[in-house]
């Protein structure tokens, strides 16, 4: 008889119908006795059952749940909180960078001018590109439109699936 394998290896092996483990258990009375004790212990353990909770358990839980806002409202509230914090952050950042809310009007006016300049510059550039390479530009623009449309559609369908999984 070879030296006994570790009991753990032996019993897990036997549970998985390993031929060597089973053969050792057939030929080694010591290991067979330990295995039998484990088997008996498992039988006793399987007979245990969970105790019943106190009779007023559900009532106590529900009394505490009643004090809580409904889960859906919690999610909605979290959404609003995030939105409010973002908006406040934006306002604070604006105030911090510009220091003075009185400048708001002139800033807004100058940004409108800036946007107009940008728009004119962009359309001039486009016109220039169009006059030199019309076909490649058209193809590139069409490709851009298709890719972004597909992206938006994928995003939308993903959100639908998510909404079904997590109502």
């Amino acid at each position: 008889m070879n030296a006994c394998p570790e009991l753990e290896t032996l019993l897990i092996g036997a549970a998985e119908h390993d031929a060597d483990a089973l053969a050792h258990l057939r030929n080694c009375p010591d290991c067979a006795a330990s295995a039998e004790q484990h088997r008996q212990l498992e039988k006793d353990l399987f007979r245990l059952a969970d105790p019943l909770p106190p009779v007023d358990f559900v009532q106590s839980v529900m009394a505490r749940v009643a004090l809580e806002p409904a889960p859906a409202r919690v999610e909605l509230r979290t959404g609003f909180t995030i939105l409010a914090v973002t908006l406040m952050g934006a306002v604070l950042a604006f105030v911090a960078t510009h220091g003075n809310l009185g400048l708001l009007g002139t800033r807004a006016a100058s940004s409108v001018v800036a946007w107009r300049n940008l728009f004119f510059a962009a359309s001039e550039a486009l016109a220039a590109i169009w006059s030199t390479a019309a076909l490649p530009t058209a193809v590139a623009m069409a490709g851009l439109v298709v890719v972004s449309t597909l992206g938006v559609r994928r995003l939308a369908s993903h959100r639908v699936v998510e909404a079904q999984v997590r109502p």
């Binding site: 753990e8 484990h38 997590r166």
Partner: protein
């Protein structure tokens, strides 16, 4: 297809209703899973009062975080994982404060369910098994409770404990081996 799956996954309809704010649906969920939750808490904490308190807290947390529950996992396993985390937190805090007497709560150990015919001898064996169980550490008691008492699969236990399923059989063996040694020394006394 989604409707079909709703029927086959236990608790899904109740979970969805509870998420929409239906408290009676949540009550039905509590009613269905209260026993394994309280059972695990009692196995880990060993006092009825603490087990009831932590089990209540477990359901409150479950209700508060229903929005985070991933429906692809069984609801009862999700709640069991909350319960075990709360229990382990309490045990950790408890061990930091003082080392509690292991035998403190022998009277409140779960009695299980036995038929009349098994009689006095079975009751005696059962008592020595419970005594031996109470000497084990929380991690051993946990894995034994989930596998033998609650009859859960190794995969389910792994999900609750957050460990690899392949480690469960070895954990079970080691816990059982401690139990076996404990019971042989008990017999020798």
């Amino acid at each position: 297809m989604l409707a079909e799956r709703t029927e086959t996954v236990p608790y899904r309809a109740e979970v969805r209703a509870a998420r929409r704010g239906d408290r009676s649906a949540f009550e039905a969920l509590v009613r269905s899973v209260q026993r394994p939750i309280y059972g695990l808490c009692l196995r880990l904490l060993r006092t009825e009062a603490e087990a009831a308190e932590v089990a209540q807290e477990t359901f409150l947390r479950a209700y508060q975080h229903l929005g985070r529950y991933d429906e692809s996992k069984p609801f009862d396993l999700w709640v069991l994982a909350i319960a075990r985390n709360l229990c382990l937190d309490l045990l950790r805090r408890r061990s930091r404060v003082h080392t509690q007497d292991v035998d403190e709560m022998h009277e409140s150990l779960p009695s299980g369910e036995r038929s009349q015919e098994e009689g006095v001898i079975a009751a005696e064996e059962h008592r020595s098994l419970e005594t031996a169980l109470s000497t084990l550490g929380a991690d051993d008691r946990e894995v034994l409770a989930l596998y033998y008492v609650q009859k859960r699969t190794t995969k389910e236990i792994a999900l609750v404990m957050g460990v690899a399923p392949g480690t469960i059989m070895a954990r079970l063996f080691r816990a059982r081996e401690k139990l076996r040694r404990q019971m042989t020394t008990e017999d020798a006394q």
